[in-house]
């Protein structure tokens, strides 16, 4: 018995080593960015005047996870452009959304960092605590939404206008849907009793960021094919491959023919590809990264961010020693959002249509949340607030509907649109 146990343990250990070895060899090229702990003047004799800018980055994942990879890539690109040496950026990987985040922030300060970024929403509350304690240090909570309300000068939020690229990804899906309809390839189960085509959406959590995203996606589809309905199912997690896969499966079982997502894994596209391989007519629209690797046939495109635009702005301000805008948001106009490469199965003419829509967004003739394009409870919306001031998280200030459209990411960088519009059903 003991021998068997020992053997098992030994095998397990060897296996771990093997897996690790594989993992390490893959990562090998990136491994030499050893960070000098203390800014040793002897090692950097050519450094001009004042101490060099040191930047700390707190990440929810590491380069193996799409969302975090996009941030790492954005920061590295921006740093290269601005000439910030790699060793002046200190990375804290896989920091969970708990006290560890606060610890990491304080640790970065102790290492000389004066600008600290965190990339996950749940980091925000701990970043804010640290910001209150260290007024000389600048804290930027990406995708957060409390900077303005906190009243702290050294605490900022930033977000892209990703709803624009979600709208465009919806256009891509709409084009495909129109093509399928024209070729009469939409199965009966994908059409509801009112003749609407069924779309599914895998969401993370039921709050503004996700609501804004799926609404934009839906409106994008509707701009091409008006008769659509969408079911949104939440997984309750930002990253859960299994849950996202099974949620996509459930939506497909209900007849959904396009599966969109606002969750960070490849679970949904992989499930869609599997169904596609089994002869089902179904396509996927992803998020963050191109899903063509996991869904070579089923993936149409992904809505994505170009974070380097923000990091260029923020690190540029940091280099000049300037405060960073409390709320920063940019979209197509500034090349801060994009869709990933179109898959092989997109409808003919998609690229041209996409270019046309993007141009319209850029020149301001197309507004994603145009109130003439959607209804709530059958009525056109004439008033919606963007900001919560009394702490109950129901927006009660800042009228966002101006000039006939909802001004998303206008009063704060994080999305605030949380109207539940007609045609979309939240299933849980």
């Amino acid at each position: 018995m003991k021998k068997i146990l020992a053997l098992l343990l030994a095998c397990a250990m060897l296996l771990t080593c093997g897996v690790l070895f594989a993992a390490c060899t893959e990562d090998a090229p990136e491994e030499n960015n050893e960070v000098v702990e203390n800014n040793d003047p002897a090692e950097t004799p050519e450094e001009p005047e004042a101490p060099a800018l040191k930047v700390g980055v707190i990440l929810i994942g590491d380069e193996n996870e799409g969302y975090t990879y996009a941030h790492i890539d954005g920061i590295k690109t921006a740093a290269e452009t601005l000439g910030i040496p790699a060793e002046n950026i200190i990375w804290k990987y896989t920091v969970p959304e708990d006290q560890t985040c606060y610890d990491a922030a304080v640790d970065l300060i102790a290492n000389g960092c004066t600008y600290i970024f965190s990339n996950s929403y749940g980091h925000q509350t701990f970043m804010q605590t640290a910001a209150g304690e260290y007024p000389a240090i600048n804290f930027i909570s990406m995708t957060g939404d409390t900077a303005r309300a906190s009243g702290l000068e050294n605490f900022s939020n930033a977000f892209t206008k990703v709803y624009e690229s979600r709208y465009v990804s919806g256009v891509v899906a709409g084009m495909k849907l129109a093509e399928l309809a024209a070729e009469d390839k939409i199965p009966a189960e994908s059409i509801d009793e009112n003749g609407n085509y069924k779309i599914g959406y895998v969401g993370a959590h039921p709050y503004a960021e996700v609501v804004s995203g799926y609404t934009a996606f839906f409106l994008g589809i509707q701009s091409i094919v008006p008769n659509v309905v969408m079911d949104v199912t939440y997984t309750g997690s930002w990253f859960d491959i299994t849950a996202e896969g099974s949620t996509a499966e459930a939506l497909m079982a209900d007849g959904c023919i396009i599966i969109g997502q606002h969750a960070d894994s490849t679970g949904a596209p992989a499930a869609v590809q599997a169904a596609y391989d089994n002869g089902k007519t179904v396509f996927s629209v992803g998020y963050n990264i191109s899903m063509l690797e996991v869904a070579p046939d089923a993936a149409l495109t992904s809505a994505s961010n170009n974070w380097s635009r923000y990091y260029e702005y923020a690190l540029g301000a940091a280099l000049k020693g300037e405060r960073i805008a409390t709320n920063w948001a940019a979209g197509y106009e500034d090349d801060a959002v994009r869709i990933t490469d179109l898959g092989p199965n997109v409808a003919a003419g998609t690229a041209e249509k996409v270019a046309e829509v993007v141009a319209a967004i850029k020149d301001g003739t197309l507004h994603v949340f145009d109130t003439s394009k959607f209804t709530v409870g059958g009525e056109t919306v004439t008033s919606a607030f963007a900001t919560d001031t009394n702490g109950d998280f129901a927006p009660d200030a800042d009228e966002a509907i101006i000039d006939g459209y909802y001004h998303e990411s206008y009063f704060q960088s994080a999305p605030s649109f949380q109207l539940r519009i007609d045609g979309i059903t939240e299933t849980n």
Partner: protein, 366 residues
Amino acid sequence: MASPNREPLVRLVKRSSIPLWQSILVRVAAIILSLLFSAVIITLITKLDPVKVFTSMYNGAFGLELRTWNTIRDMMLLLCIAVGLAPAFKMKFWNIGAEGQILVGGIVSAACMISIGDKLPTALLLIVMALISAVAGAIWGLIPAIFKAKWNTNETLFTLMMNYVAIQLTSFMVDVWDKKGSHSVGVINQTTRTGWFPPIAEKQYLLNVIIVLALTVIMFIYLKKTKQGYEIAVVGESENTARYAGISVKKVILRTMLISGAICGIAGFIEVAGVSHTISVNTAGGRGFTAIIVAWLAKFNTFTMILISLLLVFLDKGAVQIATDFGLNEYASEMVTGIILFFILGSEFFINYKLIFRHSNKGGKA
């Protein structure tokens, strides 16, 4: 044909006892060997200088005063849970439910901070929070104990399932307290800091240390010097012996789990009020399971647990630092931790058994 008397190559013989110095020597040797072994693995896989890697690990845990305090804080939390588990495991009651007991303690602490935080003076508030989180933890520990004492249910499964109940309960409470839909409570009383442990002598985590060390000492005395502690040991060795000696096994089980759960509940209180100031399903963060290793390796000696908690937290902090310094991802550091634990557990084997090789007996046979 092999002779039926042929000895196996290696035989295991249980040692009756081993002198203290010898057992210490084996353990130290194990740690040194594990470090050497990890060094070889590190060099082979990453081509990094192992000395640098170990220096980096040390820096991660003690490199700055700040880090030292974080290490102490995490060590105290782990120690607190291990101290709570000690009486249960000594009684051979497999309390896998520390996670749940921590969470319910954390929930009621958070509830106090949210609802009555501004109504009581800090000292009184903290005492109230400590008491009710102890009660909450005790109830969570008592439920499986009642079923075990009355109907002899399997406490391992029962306490494990109680964890899931506690996790769901936490998840539910998080949604009650979070109106935004992002499924997180955030830092509670961020600006007012009511219900937070106050710094003592400007040390933010000193109160954590005081509470946990006090519990450690009390539990040491309780287990070693009191009648109740002796009863726990007897029930743990043999329930029949205990019955024969006139000990009410049921009563001991209930009483012990009450204490065990209460201390784990207090750990939840320390975590919420003294460390993270928030509550989530990750509040226990697996410490309830890690603490089992601490309690067992220390053989329920609460002072030895201090060292073991320190070692585990050290490895954890070191692991994080390696990731930052060398861009290795967390798996690399988890492997080092794995190797070191493997050797330490292995050393327990050599303390309890000795190996006898065949050739060593040849002289006698020939």
